[in-house]
Amino acid sequence: MGHNESVQEPSEASWPAIVARGLHKRFGDHVAVGSLDLDVPVGSFCGLVGPNGSGKTTSLRMVAGLLRPDSGQVWVAGHDTWADPVTVRRLLGVVPDPLNLFDRLSARELLRHLGELRGLDPDEVRHRSEELLGVMDLLESADEQVGGYSHGMRKKTAIAAALLHRPAVLLLDEPFEGVDPVSAVAVRTMLDRYRGSGGTVVFSSHAMDLVDRMCDYVAVMAKGGLLAAGPIEQLRGTGRLEDAFISMIGATPVDPASLSWLDDLPASQ
């Protein structure tokens, strides 16, 4: 796991689920992701963690083919995201942030529409849709327009849409944010089952305990670069993942002497 400027293709015999080499993205003067190299093993549950602005979302969007990198390459199951986008899209299930769903479709309509676009058998789409909507506790509102859904319901709809075609790799940007605890358990169970059957999950999160509990592989990002990546036991050592994370990114605790003006309430209060 290096930070090489040059792109080094992995050997085709052992393609990981995701390979990124020299991924670089700049917005104006700001380097969002700088020369990212990352391998995610097949069948892993990979947590992508990092402070705000570390480049997690940008990286996931580049892997998913939603954002073209300035330089570098990405392979999903051995297929180049930008040279063979249709194959990669078939292999991927994506829940981006922000979600951006068609607000004027119902969840049921959305799933059936995406099933038709993916060329799935209509009966199979109907069957899978109903099961996914049931597991996500969305059956009651399945014929209501998504625009009227709460944030959590929208998130669950997006997760269902990402799973519908049983992708080889799932990319989830903050999948549990805004999802109620009961649904979160259902989603976790579903993801565990999916992973158990050989699927690969990559998800970004700020919730360290969640990553600690669910993931067997972790990639830590900061300031657009990859600080570390590997099996979770290796990264956290004998302590907690959160402590290891803070130590890795070199965060300094807030100086109690600063922000002293916060102690002075305005006179009118």
Binding site: R89, N100, F102, D103, R108, E109, E116, L117, S268
Partner: protein, 539 residues
């Protein structure tokens, strides 16, 4: 607590400065933003200079100068008010984005008025005002000149206050209980302007002194009409003082209404889409009804989704209705205003919905917004998207294109022209769909998150859309010539011969459609991610 606020002058400076920064940001932004802002400045200058020259010439040389000014001032106030209501609150800084700032009602209202003064429309208005000043101050003394200047300033203030108040009221309504009424009013506003232009230009030859005088007798009863009267009385300032005071008298009331409506708007919910309301869809889903006849597979699926979301989204549905009313109205307005049809060959014009198809579909990717990524991710590549958008355009306009010639035949008795009319309609529909999908792919424009059905978003988006629409119409006019000329010649001989000449229309239409889809496919393929980024509105 007054000591804790920043005060009106500082609020004015701050919010107007914000608008200036946003405009400069546009000029430093993407190429499309630069084109938008540059184009709006250019067109504002161009139209402003035309208004300046026209008004200066009329004021100096026309025998009806007084009546014309008395009519012009209130009419422009009404037109600008209606257009502001139609284009929405996002055209300047949205008051709702400042709702959490510790600003008093006056600071917010006056600050936003200052922001509205910064930008291309103000350039146009000021040039028109300068034209009035030059035109109506010829040969008057200093007092007379001051009177004209005061009238122009009062008129500009009226324009500003009324247009922003209209936009505020409709913007606030569009997010509340009166959402549908506001959306309907925004549409009606746009259509009223169009109707006004039709009526005025249709009867241009009959605009003699008597008509100007009659209209001025009515217009003088309005405050802007009084300002016009004051400016036209510059040679006799004493007589102009009364009208000037009457013209200014309602400005405090307008200012109060503006400040109150700004506060209402700022405190209204900015939720887009369905506004959080739960709305059920039909059980038969996307493929129910007429849409079920679209072909199976990705192209038909995206086309079906496009049509469903179009008619479920007020902004898009209103756009389609407006496109149809204006597109079909071009041919129907004459018979309706005149009370009869002169030439029964008008039947052949009924299905020529070039404008309607272009107006409705020339931003067919932009109206989808960032949600289009879902379809891209599910495998819809550039080819599928381009074909689907063209198919949806044809499907939406097919029924009106078939029915309108029948309506005109019923009005005129020209049933013999119906076969040719339908052939021409098919050709027009196919060709327009081709050009519209090419336009949509070449210049996709992000739509703002707004409940306003006609909200235009960033500065210059409307100008860019208008330019693309005009280019599309020119392309269609040139492409249609090989059919239009033979049909026109044949129509002076017989209906069967005309139908025979029109047989080429569907062939030509199919060729243009093929070309348009090919252009769009080439433009989008492999760049689907960039397309989605283009149509994602800035936050």
């Amino acid at each position: 607590m007054s000591g804790r606020t920043i005060g009106v002058p500082r609020a004015l400076r701050s919010i107007a400065g914000l608008k200036w920064s946003l405009l400069r940001g546009g000029l430093r932004g993407s190429t499309q933003q630069k084109i938008q802002v540059g184009l709006s400045m250019l067109l504002s200058m161009l139209f402003g200079l035309i208004a300046f020259g026209g008004l200066a010439a009329v004021g100096r040389s026309s025998a009806e100068a007084e009546s014309i000014l008395v009519v012009f001032m209130p009419v422009i106030v009404i037109v600008v008010g209606l257009l502001s209501a139609a284009t929405g609150v996002e055209a300047t800084i949205d008051a709702r984005h400042l709702a959490t700032e510790p600003l008093t009602r006056s600071e917010l209202g006056i600050g936003l008025l200052g922001a509205a003064v910064v930008g291309p429309p103000a350039v146009l208005a000021c040039l028109a005002g300068a034209g009035i000043l030059v035109g109506w101050s010829g040969g008057v003394d200093v007092v007379g000149m001051v009177l004209v200047l005061a009238s122009v300033v009062g008129w500009l203030a009226t324009l500003l206050l009324l247009s922003r108040t209209f936009a505020n009221v409709l913007g606030a309504w569009a997010t509340g209980r009166f959402r549908q009424i506001a959306q309907a009013m925004a549409t009606v506003s746009a259509l009223l302007v169009w109707l006004l232009v039709q009526i005025v230009t249709r009867d241009a030859d009959n605009w003699d002194a008597g008509r100007w005088s009659t209209l001025a007798d009515t217009a003088r009863w309005t405050p802007p009409g009084q300002l016009g009267l004051a400016a036209a009385s510059a040679t006799d300032p004493v007589n102009g003082l009364g009208p000037l005071l009457i013209g200014y008298a309602w400005l405090p009331l307008l200012a109060w209404a503006n400040v109150v409506s700004t506060e209402r708007l700022a405190l209204s919910s900015p939720r887009p889409g369905s506004g959080g309301r739960r709305m059920r869809t039909r059980v038969d889903g996307l493929r129910g009804g007429l849409v079920s006849y679209l072909p199976a597979g990705p192209v038909g699926s995206v086309a079906a989704r496009t049509i469903r979301t179009k008619f479920r989204t007020p902004r898009q549905a209103v756009n389609t209705v407006t496109a149809l009313v204006i597109g079909a109205g071009v041919f129907l307005i004459g018979p309706l205003l005149d009370g009869g049809v002169g030439d029964d060959r008008i039947v052949m014009l009924g299905g020529l919905l070039h404008f309607a198809v272009l107006f409705d579909g020339n931003n067919s990717f932009g109206v989808d917004g960032p949600a289009l990524w879902l379809e891209v991710q599910a495998g819809a590549d550039g080819r599928v998207l381009a074909r689907a958008k063209a198919l949806s355009s044809v499907a939406v306009m097919a029924v009106p294109a078939a029915v309108l010639p029948v309506a005109l035949a019923a009005m005129s008795g020209g049933w013999r022209w119906l076969p040719a009319a339908w052939l021409l309609a098919i050709g027009a529909l196919l060709a327009s769909a081709g050009v519209s999908v090419a336009t949509a792919a070449l210049a996709p424009v992000a739509m703002p998150d707004s409940p306003n059905p006609l909200a235009s978003g960033d500065t210059g988006q409307g100008c860019l859309a208008a330019v693309m629409l005009s280019v599309g119409l020119v392309v269609l006019a040139v492409a249609s010539a090989p059919v239009a000329i033979p049909v026109l010649l044949a129509s002076s001989r017989s209906a069967p011969l005309t139908a025979a000449a029109a047989l080429f229309a569907p062939v030509l239409g199919a060729a243009v459609l093929w070309g348009g889809v090919a252009v769009a496919t080439r433009r989008i393929s492999g760049r689907e991610a960039e397309l989605v980024q283009h149509i994602t509105p800035a936050k």
